[in-house]
């Protein structure tokens, strides 16, 4: 049914040429190759495997891993609705349903004419301006019925994306509160000049004095990471900026890259100066590919200004440049060792640590992986000194933190606070009322109930990568947890059994409860699964996967218990309905042809 002419090899040759025939560029090559036909036909994979001298299975393994790469036809228009809980709260299901009906297709299936497919995807980082979607990788926010009607018409007319109204693709920063970082108006190169003046050792000492900790959530001391990489043997050293902002509810890195890209790239260059690195990567999540042209432009300008390339700011021996590497829809690549695997053109499977990336990272070389916000913050330290930075925030959490606020509040968006701000203060500032719970740190973070709103955002109390999702009294926290459980089951990389099977089983139990088949025994099994996932998983994805369930079972247990139909055990399916087909085939309706779904007399 989909007999298409084979991809012209000349086009593939051009892509291979552009990427220097390097197997480490496999993911980038596949992303580019997919743009030719909207999917990756088998002959294309074979051709690329031969050209790169890679096993065919390796190429197919990579193509099959990333959810934005298609090994089957997916249509000329590939529509993916963002399916974070915040999108759901804004009514994405109804909009997706409406678009499917207008285009006469079922979710997840290609239309018969091969024109369009519609499906759901994990959070696309537009939680403050949802519901959101991606069309052929391009982000569109603020969906409503009117916009959906227009999009249906554009697709029916087969209008190329370039001719769609440009306001669809407009994405707001929504910066609501500025502090040290967002108020910084720095001339590109100023921080770098200051750090170079201090010398490499002096700059590293300044970083040590700052007590800067990683903003990706784990909070590892940045200076320790840098000096470990600096002291590790192996050349050339590598700086990676982790912009694979996949944690549901987080979108601060998108804003930093959109409006403060110079700070981010300057931060990477500052890291290179401290570490002695010469190669840099920005790992940009596929959902943010709309930022790619402007980021490339910033890089080109910085090269022209002597802030990247050979002899940066005329400093002998300071050579450093940055390449942008696109992701393709895999949450697990936010984990630093999975990210490095992906950078090397492989499936994003987390590595066994140790060795840590600082000694053995990209291609076995010493590699620093820092969050976007962490790197931007280093500009502040270079300009104002480490001690000034350390003087803000709390004892163990120096500086400020960007929060990505979404959900039930009047003004969702980006808020920058000094560390130590209370949950209650944040809720007041963003205009939240009747708040029932706040999910801090995304799906893998912590769910805070009303009695905890005096707690503070800081590594010593509530650590976070920045997500702050608000749920008011009308929301059902069981459904919130269930959506996160579905997210983890979808994003599990499949490498280790506890996570691959455990997240699927947990999803099964949550669905069983949602379908009205829950029993007390299921809560005990959920507890057991939570412990198994926490203790036996290979990486942080699996061990964080039960967090939403653990928290809500503890703090919102009635939301689970009210769904139970029995205190003992219930099947997940209707036993009498399971006999229906046999009844029909035999034309029987006697008492023996029926089963009671709830057994009488069981305790």
């Amino acid at each position: 049914m989909h007999t298409q002419p084979p991809t012209p090899c000349s086009a593939l040759d051009g892509i291979l040429q552009h990427h220097g025939h390097r197997p480490t560029e496999l993911l980038q090559i596949l992303i580019n190759a997919q743009q030719l036909e909207g999917w990756l036909p088998a002959p294309t994979l074979t051709y690329l495997a031969q050209a790169l001298r890679l096993p065919r299975a390796r190429v197919e393994g990579v193509a099959g891993f990333y959810s934005f790469l298609y090994t089957r036809p997916a249509g000329r228009f590939r529509v993916l609705f963002s399916d974070n809980i915040t999108d759901r709260m804004l009514g994405n299901a109804e909009l997706m349903d409406a678009l499917c009906r207008k285009l006469w297709i079922e979710p997840g299936k290609l239309s018969e004419d091969g024109l369009v497919s519609i499906d759901a995807t994990s959070c696309t980082g537009l939680c403050d301006q949802g519901p959101a979607m991606l069309v052929n990788g391009r982000a569109i926010g603020q969906l409503n019925h009117r916009r959906i009607n227009e999009i249906a018409e554009l697709i029916r007319q087969q209008r190329p994306l370039a001719q769609w109204p440009s306001e669809y693709f407009h994405i707001d920063d929504n910066i609501r509160r500025r502090d040290a970082l967002l108020n910084l108006d720095m001339k590109p190169g100023a921080a770098l000049a200051s750090a170079i003046a201090r010398g490499r050792a002096g700059w590293l000492a300044e970083m040590q004095a700052s007590n800067l900790r990683g903003r990706g959530g784990a909070g590892f001391a940045t200076a320790v990471k840098w000096s470990s990489a600096r002291n590790a043997p192996g050349e050339p050293k590598v700086i990676v900026c982790n912009a694979d902002e996949g944690e549901p509810g987080t979108f601060k890195d998108r804003v930093l890259l959109n409006t403060y890209a110079d700070l981010v790239f300057e931060g990477m260059t500052l890291a290179a100066w401290a570490v002695g690195a010469s190669e840099g990567f920005l790992y940009l999540r596929g959902e943010y590919s709309h930022l790619l042209p402007q980021l490339e432009a910033v890089l080109a300008r910085r090269r022209a200004e002597g802030l990247l390339g050979m002899r940066i700011l005329h400093e002998q021996g300071f050579d450093f440049d940055i390449r942008i590497h696109l992701g393709a829809g895999a949450y697990v690549c936010g984990e630093e060792s999975a990210l490095i695997e992906s950078l090397e053109g492989k499936r994003g499977t987390p590595r066994i640590r140790p060795p840590f990336p600082v000694t053995c990272g990209y291609l076995g070389r010493p590699t620093v992986v820092n969050n976007v916000e962490t790197l931007a913050k280093t500009c502040l330290i270079a300009l104002q000194g480490g001690e000034a930075f350390a003087a803000t925030g709390t004892a163990q959490s120096a500086g400020t933190k960007l929060l990505s606020i979404s959900g039930d509040c009047a003004a969702p968006g980006i808020y920058e606070y000094p560390f130590g701000v209370s949950i209650a203060r944040v809720l007041e500032d963003c205009g939240a009322s009747d708040t029932q719970a706040v999910q801090v740190g995304g799906a893998s973070g912590i769910c805070l109930a009303g009695y905890e709103f005096q707690r503070r955002i800081a590594y010593e109390d509530v650590p976070t990568a920045g997500a702050f999702m608000i749920f008011d009294g009308t929301r059902d926290l069981f459904e919130v947890a269930r959506s996160f459980v579905h997210f983890f089951a979808h994003e599990s990389c499949g490498f280790c059994t506890p996570c691959r099977v455990g997240t699927a089983l947990l999803k099964g139990f949550m669905d069983k409860l949602a379908d009205g088949h829950g029993a007390q025994a299921d809560l005990a099994d959920i507890d057991w699964l939570d412990r198994l996932l926490k203790n036996a998983s290979h990486c942080g994805l699996g061990s964080a996967a039960p967090n939403p369930v653990i928290d809500t079972l503890q703090k919102f247990r009635p939301a689970y218990e009210r769904r139970l139909v029995s205190l003992d055990f219930e099947p997940a399916f209707d036993l009498d309905a399971a006999l229906a087909e046999a009844r029909q085939l035999t034309a029987r309706d006697d008492p023996g042809a029926h089963l009671q779904t709830h057994e009488e007399g069981t305790p």
Partner: protein, 182 residues
């Protein structure tokens, strides 16, 4: 082994199974003499008791393929303090569950109507016969199960180890060669 004060009462049955697990149970050979010192049998192919009564331990072989299986399994659950899924079919549905990817109607029509040599065949509808479920289910999907003993079948030594653990009050734990799924 520290024997309990009284003999434990044990029931066994096979639902959608092949009695292979029961045959494997007999493979404990001379341990059977030790076993009958510690337990007495309730409903089991060994006693020919038809209805299960109050028991300490129930061993279920086979998955759940029809309405009668459901009744028997529920009766075991009501009567047994500890209920054990014995063997691959009880644990996962096993061989009989291979029909799960086919519609039940196709299975029955193929056997009773379309098989070569059958004329005017019809699907049996005698009320004496239990109706098949649309899918074969592992027993833990129908009632709560306390322990799982995998294997097709679990070996005699595995069953012996499992039962003696249970009788002595140790949480049964199979390791090494005793634990296998095929």
């Amino acid at each position: 082994m520290s024997a309990p004060a009284r003999k434990l009462r044990v029931a066994t049955t096979s639902l959608a199974g092949c009695f292979g697990c029961h045959m494997s149970f007999l493979d404990i050979d001379e341990h059977l003499f030790e076993l009958v010192e510690l337990i007495e049998f309730d409903r089991s192919p060994l006693t020919d008791i038809k209805e299960v009564g109050p028991c300490d331990i129930g061993l279920i072989e086979g998955g759940v393929c029809n309405a009668e299986n459901v009744h028997v399994l529920r009766a075991f659950r009501r009567n047994c303090k500890t209920l054990i899924a014995l063997g691959a079919c009880a644990v996962n549905g096993g061989l009989p569950a291979q029909r799960n990817h086919l519609p039940l109607s196709e299975c029955l029509r193929e056997v009773y109507q379309f098989r070569p040599g059958i004329a005017n065949g019809q699907i049996p509808n005698d009320p004496e016969l239990p109706l098949p479920l649309d899918k074969v289910r592992p027993i833990h999907e129908v009632v709560r199960i306390d322990y799982f003993l995998p294997g097709c079948p679990p070996s005699g030594p595995a069953i012996w180890k499992f039962l003696t653990d249970l009788i002595a009050g140790r949480t049964p734990r199979l390791t090494g060669g005793l634990l296998h799924y095929d």
